[in-house]
Amino acid sequence: MRGVTPAAVPSDVDLVRRCARGDAAAIRVLYDRHGESLLRFLERMLRDRPRAEDVCQEAFLRVWRRAELFDPARGTFTAWLYRAAANLAFNRLALKSSTETELSSQLVLPPAETVNPSEEASRNERSRLLHDALGALSPQDRAILTLRHIEERPVAEIAGILDIPEGTVKSRVHYAMHRLRSVLEPAMGVDPGSPAAPEQDSR
């Protein structure tokens, strides 16, 4: 930390209220707190970095424009922000042309940390398989999986963000995990041995 007492750190709710009063410094602090994690979520969901950046910017603009509408009794600021971003992302995907290419859908692997070429090749292969398996999931399933197992958000919050029942969140997580495992396990030399995926659960 920076030697600041906890009481001196404004809460998200305080910052949103300051946004509603036109305090531009407050939106900067909110972006500083949540911007990068939201951007990572959107890039995983959309698989398109420029589009994720656009949606992230638009989500924060929406926070600025509608700050007075935020009601802390109905959920956290994070859930409100992610819900706005997810809705924008779904709208963008709905508008997306079928001929449009996904610029960042090509997996860019990080520099190798190991000197063992076969181990590196194996790891890269697993990453490619996982990347492709994620691409085969629906955007909503990618969003659910990211929120649950990367951002570790509670099921209830994910249900609120995506406006779906909690049971649907749970079943989609199981389904998406099963899909990924069925791709990864053979590549790791493990027999997946998993049962069939559950039925698609409509919203």
Binding site: R2, A20, R21, G22, D23, A24, A25, R28, Y31, D32, R33, G35, E36, S37, L39, R40, E43, R44, R49, A52, E53, C56, Q57, F60, L61, W64, R65, L107, V108, L109, R126, S127, L130, H131, L134, L145, R148, H149, I150, E151, E152, P154, V155, A156, E157, K170, S171, H174, Y175, M177, H178, L180, R181, L184, E185, V190, G193, S194, P195, P198
Partner: protein
């Protein structure tokens, strides 16, 4: 977090191949919560204890953990500073904030206007004298006829109110505090 399960009396009967794969009942049901760190400590311990003695659950847990680890290890390159730059430009183009955001300034202007009006009222004779000296005849007669003369003070109040509402508030609303510089580097990434 969202884990609401209690730790007592867990049902570890065979799952029969439901969504949790080959794991026993309770672990299959709670696998996602367990991986997300969303369970109470006692239940987490109970599940892990069971898994340590159950080959099927142990394999299921390991496989799911490997999948989550691989998922988290996938590279995601973000450019938070670039987004902030464009967001900052977009914010600068936003229309002025709602006037009620400047309630304090409006109240101060109101107090100032009232004080000025009161000062004029105390020197009402001089105001009338000034009007008689400087205002053209036709307008002077209009201003100083009996009833209008009695209304001079309320008219001044109304005039200041109108000035505040029509001129001062929009000018204040157009004022925008500068956006401070971004310090993203101070916040480490949570994942990936």
């Amino acid at each position: 977090m969202g884990g609401d399960a209690t730790a007592s009396g867990g049902d570890f009967s065979s799952n029969g191949g439901s969504a949790g794969g080959g794991a026993c009942g309770l672990l299959a049901e709670r696998l996602s919560d367990l991986l997300a760190g969303d369970l109470p400590f006692a239940m987490r311990r109970e599940l892990e204890s069971h898994a340590s003695g159950c080959a099927a659950c142990s394999a299921e847990l390991s496989a799911a953990a490997r999948t989550v680890a691989a998922l988290r290890a996938l590279p995601v390159a973000v450019r938070g500073d670039a987004v902030w730059s464009s967001l900052e430009r977009a914010l600068a183009r936003e229309p002025a904030r709602r006037p009620h955001a400047f309630a304090l300034e409006a109240a101060l202007l109101g107090v100032l206007g009232t004080a000025l009006a009161a000062a004029l009222a105390l020197r009402n004779d001089r105001v009338v004298e000034w009007i008689e000296r400087n205002v053209p005849d036709a307008l002077r007669e209009l201003l100083l006829i009996g009833s209008l003369r009695a209304c001079l003070l309320p008219t001044l109040f109304a005039l200041f109110g109108a000035i505040v509402a029509v001129v001062a508030l929009p000018l204040l609303a157009a004022r925008r505090p500068p956006l401070p510089a971004l310090a993203l580097a101070a916040h480490p990434e949570k994942a990936s």
